[in-house]
Symmetry: C3
Subunit: 362 residues, 3 copies
């Protein structure tokens, strides 16, 4: 853990008070200061470490950390007898993410150069409206009539075309592109070099000349609250209606979603997923990395699709799927495990046919 952390020392009492509904003090010294968060291997004595599974115990016992956070199931009498500060939470990893965000998340890179919140080199149109506590990095561009609500961070070199609306506390990382008229809900996080609201890939082909004429895209990209868009990911604007991604959906790096996409709430899309236009995806879905989705399909709620799958038909039943062609996951796993036997199957079938029908068989 080499990164500058915010507090020099966080009194345990403060932490217990803030998260009193989720965090319990169990045993050991109570009057301690937490100086950082760490994994067991690299921890200092005053770093808090988290154990969420029994298999982590062995490594933790070798750790220098004296402050442990673990679920009730791992709290043994033996551990309590040792002289460590033991804390307990039902969801230790979830709590860790909240503690990190509240106390330890590095933020000084949000003002990389100088000390002014709005870097003097940023090009901000006078008609743009900026709320309170907005941070704007060097060489960022904020177009005409943009509305930037309170607490937004806009990174260096980001480009916002006219009339972009950013909800409160959005974090737009450096070098992001957001096309004109797009709208983001509160606390969206857009990682470096994501591209929101480029024109869709729609052409009308002239049957005489075979030349392709681009269709102007009038729709926007609209994101709900707390949507995450990864680096290098591209979300195209809709043709007439908007491309829409609902609250809490998280999309990893290097994904592409074509025009008129619709995605529900709290769906997880991991790296390298490519989806053509007009795909409608439900809520609570999970997409494994490198999966491809053909255009104009519907994927209902709570569908989990394994990595490197090919989706060419709508998926209208919740459940787990995989493969190309896509199958229910259990069936796909049988297909996949049979595939290496195919040369043997081919050979044995040929032998069998020869045995039954005689030599003339191929």
């Amino acid at each position: 853990m080499n990164i500058k952390q915010s507090p020099s020392a966080l009194p345990l009492n403060e932490l217990l008070e803030k998260f009193s509904d989720q965090l319990a003090f169990i045993s050991g010294p109570a009057d301690v200061q937490i100086r950082g968060l760490s994994q067991p291997k690299e921890a200092s004595p005053e770093d808090l470490i988290v154990l969420s599974e029994k298999s982590h115990l062995e490594e933790a016992l070798k750790s220098a950390s004296r402050i442990w956070l673990l679920p009730p199931a791992l709290l043994t009498d033996r551990l309590k007898q040792e002289n460590r500060t033991l804390l307990s939470a039902a969801q230790p990893k979830l709590l860790l993410s909240k503690i990190a965000k509240a106390y330890f998340r590095p933020t000084d890179h949000q003002i990389p150069v100088g000390s002014e919140r709005i870097h003097p080199t940023a090009a901000i149109d006078p008609s743009a409206r900026l709320g309170k506590d907005v941070t704007v990095g060097p060489f960022a561009v904020i177009g005409k009539e943009c509305v930037i609500e309170d607490g937004v961070v806009i990174g260096a070199g980001a480009v916002l075309e006219p009339r972009v609306h950013l909800g409160r506390r959005c974090h737009i990382h450096p070098q992001v592109f957001i096309g004109h008229d797009c709208e983001l809900g509160e606390e969206c996080e857009i990682k470096p070099q994501a591209v929101l609201g480029g024109e869709g890939f729609g052409y009308a082909t002239d049957p005489k000349t075979l030349s392709h004429h681009r269709i102007t895209h009038f729709g926007r990209v609209v994101l709900g609250k707390r949507v995450h868009i990864g680096s290098g990911t591209t979300i195209d604007r809709g043709t007439f209606s908007d491309s829409f991604i609902d609250d809490e959906t998280k999309i990893d790096n290097l994904c592409h979603f074509g025009h008129n996409i619709e995605i529900g709430k709290a769906t997880i899309v991991t790296g390298g997923v490519i989806a053509a236009g007009s795909v409608k995806i439900g809520s609570g879905c999970v997409f494994g990395g490198g999966t491809c989705i053909a255009g104009h399909l519907e994927i209902t709620d709570r569908v989990h699709i394994g990595g490197f799958s090919g989706v060419t038909k709508s998926v209208l039943q919740p459940g787990a799927y995989g493969g190309y062609p896509l199958q229910p996951l259990k069936e796909y796993l049988r297909t996949a495990s049979s595939l290496p036997s195919l040369p043997k199957i081919r050979k044995e079938l040929s032998q069998l046919r020869q045995h039954i029908f005689g030599k003339e068989q191929e």
Copy 2:
């Protein structure tokens, strides 16, 4: 349709005159103004809507729009008797794309900040030559001896290395990179964060040390006219000769084409296609999303390759293909539909062998 459109009102007469060779007035009120383009569902009475297939009729009949554009085949007597303005074109979608471009395409985002065509912050080398009516966004970089012809738009934060040549009316969106000496024909459109003319991925490995020495790439990237390159797409420069993409070819987002690529005219490449170096692709091809193409292959004209396919051999006959390994499309579809039966095939074959040869068979 939430985006500011250019004209406040376009008289129908003006439209009929401009497209007199392709657009016919059929029936209904002739003295109308068109205030926007829309899809049926969201249209206002004065928005023009387009119907291209019979299946769209039902939705259109619920639309508020009073101005319809449709192909001759959909013009029924019943429609003509209703009090709507009916227009007809052989290719309604193609005409719509032309109407949008001529009258309704939003363009104010091309000058996102302030009112000067060439933003005062742009870094333009004095030796660069700019034509008439050139637009340059904030923080764009135009290197030494670049030649920018009339009507070009260069977006915010775009970087043009020395001696880039941009043909008339090219549209370089924000944050694009174009490497030194590259050349683009007229009316190319390069979407945000495309990368043209980076060095190719070529190494000579030292057999003693096993270290990889980069091969300097002296070739350029050369694009014909009206080539479209999507966001996040990378086209590497050639080793000695140029990487070349011919007129009217359109490449979607997040594609990669390695060094010494050659692509013919009017080929369509959809999102996420990865092609290694020295691939030669013909004219009038279509590549489905997520397809991978190995190096040093030739793909002839009018080849259509389905999405998520793997191309490892040259394709020398026009036609439709799919799968990995690649097969003619019809054969591939049979393979794909047989694949889920593989576990059953395996089991049945085993039973059959047991039946014929007895229990000792596996």
Copy 3:
């Protein structure tokens, strides 16, 4: 070869002296000047061309070039009798890459605008330390306490967050993003629009609300010496420990490596490879384009994985592999060549079952 090359003329003697350990003069005129490097087809008489295989001879004999570099095996008496300058090296391509780097590599694009090494528009925090002979392009951002060692080139619009450390002669191309605290060894090359050190895609899901809480990532991205990262490629920072890529490893465009990745020395990763988090890859590996790698796997040294493969299990034996599911390459090639026969297998098996068991069989 349309690119401005550095020297107007390089005396052959100088070249022979510099590479005396690898380059031998064989026959023909010795008092010549080399004016460029070229491929045979486009060469001028004073361009050096390289032949590495016998099959290149025919094309070379049509070339205008009078200065040939070839391996000993291709040196025939007949060639020696003709009036050309013949040079010989055991590894002609490797030597060519060194000659190009030493004498012919274009570099003027490193200062695209004006003549100042550090462009006056760059935003450099006063606390950053820059070594000798550092080049910084227009609108580059160098954050607080960055350490930039001698001879580094930082391109236009690149963003370095605070405390980035760049080793000597690193070449950071335009529009690259490097997150806070990341560290690069000597002579790394980071191509335009690569993204190093974005936050990893890690979430803790609240089982009550199903909302996903982002896990703060405290690790860095650390690169060894002479690592190459392609355009559009994203390498996420680690959760607590660092994401690490060792010396001489080269990664092509549009690849993604998730948090806590570890890659050994001199591994080659070609375009479009997507790897989830916590993957550990050895040294001397080669990954074909478009391959997907699931999370938490280990791939040992000297593993070659074919293009468009899916890796879902650890690979603990060196060797060549391919396919999805992954198989040893030889076996995979048999599987792949059997796959198109699957519909025929299915049909023949059905016939056979009918023959044996009678009509009631499906």
